[in-house]
Assembly symmetry: C2
Homo-oligomer: 305 residues x 2
């Protein structure tokens, strides 16, 4: 029987990904939404989270899709009310708040799942399996997309805590940290800020082990989400955000669609709740915090949507 | 019998604190120094770290005092060469690199000690003991000092990774995270950068639970290192960087000197090596990374030494 879930924060990512994934899931029944601005046809809609938690004791799991800065208060309230919690990426505005949520969930025997949707892309698991016994000699991430296309008018991405180009870049880092056979750490970074904004619109990162990354949010035309890895057994490339895999320049797996990522996240959440366990890996967020700690700041033209 | 130790990075903090602490210690014998620019009278002096590691197998412990950005390479080389490692604060330029060192030390059965000297201040342990069963209703850190006095000409503090005012501020955060009975997380911050510098010269932080902090590196005249805590049992104040304690406005413990901090660190290191354990608490550094991730950036007058 499907387990009831509430979806909180009905914005673009909820409509584009969470609602279709839940509609197609045999594990879950979307039983309520909570949002000041959005709702889903035919689903019980609340504007106040505390009211929903009180009115619907039959809903034992909540999925939080709002931006990272307001998310902590909802996650804390949900755990205090005995609900399992699934967090969109990044799992919080700070590392310390996620540590607190981890301790709270563990103390109450509840599931906390810090999701990284790009890790569920079709070709990530085969890439990880292939790399497991290889030596990585070099890797380069190219993550170039158009913020106007993916976050139209969403000024919060340029406000403190909105992460700027690290909002997509953390997807690349979530794949990198999943597939590399040994961890790396940042050694230097340059961060390019629009003169009128609080978060970077582009970033170049250098890690130990010959790993580099370029993130840019100003790419019009074709979008690029590639991770190219050189190994002692030849090159591997992940393209289309982890959805297509090449080994030695020959495509061996993949689809162009990212529509499988969120169904896989919800299937994983169902398994975590059934097992009574949590899944919180902060390593992609640690790399972003490290970049914002260690990075050299450059300034460029103002940016407006 | 005293255990032999090498001191690496003979700059201001080594001369001011590490060398006197080791000279007074019954646990340790300063057996070598490694530095391109400094040495200690009467002590075997090397300019190359690999050469010292190869030449002095009798030295099983190294204490690393150079700035955080170059420190990782030394720590990694020391652990690879089977030496125990003591790290000045902050323990690294990135969180990820310290995670890597932790895993490396654990894998080799070596001691890694990420020191926080301010936690060894005279009044920190009694403050922690008093707060353990109290409810904290509010706390405020005031950490105002003169960078020209404490870091004369040290431009690295304003370079990427130098941490700026968080270099002293992390001392306050190391005390805060030690004494509070429950963890807090950053909720907002403002960071003030000199127009010509890469790291902030002042910062205002707000945490959960009514905890706030103001750090400023432009304080001439009297210097201020206070932590004031309101509780359900009245106020507690730590002054002089954790060296003096007031309860209910009455001083109950303390000295004005910080000269006890480094001897206590080296005594703790001796105990950790004897016990075969490590001590790496990254929570002060997590709060700094969170502030640099979530903080709003302001710009002020250029700063020059």
């Amino acid at each position: 029987m499907a387990r009831k879930i509430a979806l909180v924060g009905i914005g673009k990512i909820a409509r584009d990904q969470h609602v279709p994934a839940l509609a197609a899931s045999a594990d879950w029944e979307l039983a309520a939404t909570v949002s000041r601005s959005g709702s889903v046809d035919g689903i019980d809609a609340y504007t106040d989270f505390a009211e929903m938690l009180a009115a619907r004791p039959d809903i034992d799991t909540v999925s939080l899709c709002m931006p990272p800065v307001p998310r902590y208060a909802y996650a804390e309230a949900a755990l205090q009310a005995g609900r399992h919690v699934m967090l969109e990426k990044p799992p919080g505005a700070t590392l310390a708040e996620v540590h607190t949520l981890q301790a709270m969930a563990a103390g109450k025997g509840l599931t906390l799942f810090a999701t990284w949707h790009s890790r569920m892309a079709h070709a990530v698991a085969p890439a990880k399996a292939w790399l497991a016994d290889k030596t990585v000699t070099r890797a380069h991430i190219t993550w170039r997309e158009d913020v106007r296309k993916w976050h139209p008018g969403q000024d919060w991405v340029f406000e403190p805590g909105g992460m700027g180009v690290f909002d997509p870049g953390i997807n690349a880092l979530s794949i990198l940290t999943e597939i590399l056979p040994a961890p790396v750490h940042l050694t230097s970074a340059t961060l390019t800020f629009p003169a009128n904004r609080q978060t970077p619109i582009a970033a170049d990162l250098a890690f130990s082990g010959g790993v580099t990354a370029e993130f840019d949010w100003r790419q019009t035309g074709p979008q690029t989400w590639n991770i190219e890895v050189d190994t002692n057994a030849g090159p591997l490339a992940l393209r289309m955000g982890g959805n297509r895999l090449e080994l030695g320049g020959v495509e061996v797996a993949g689809e162009n669609s990212i529509m499988g990522e969120y169904p896989a996240l919800y299937a994983r959440m169902a398994q975590l709740v059934a097992d009574g366990t949590s899944d919180v890996d902060l390593s992609p967020m640690v790399h972003v915090a490290d970049a914002l700690t260690l990075g050299r700041r450059l300034f460029t033209d103002p940016f407006d949507f």
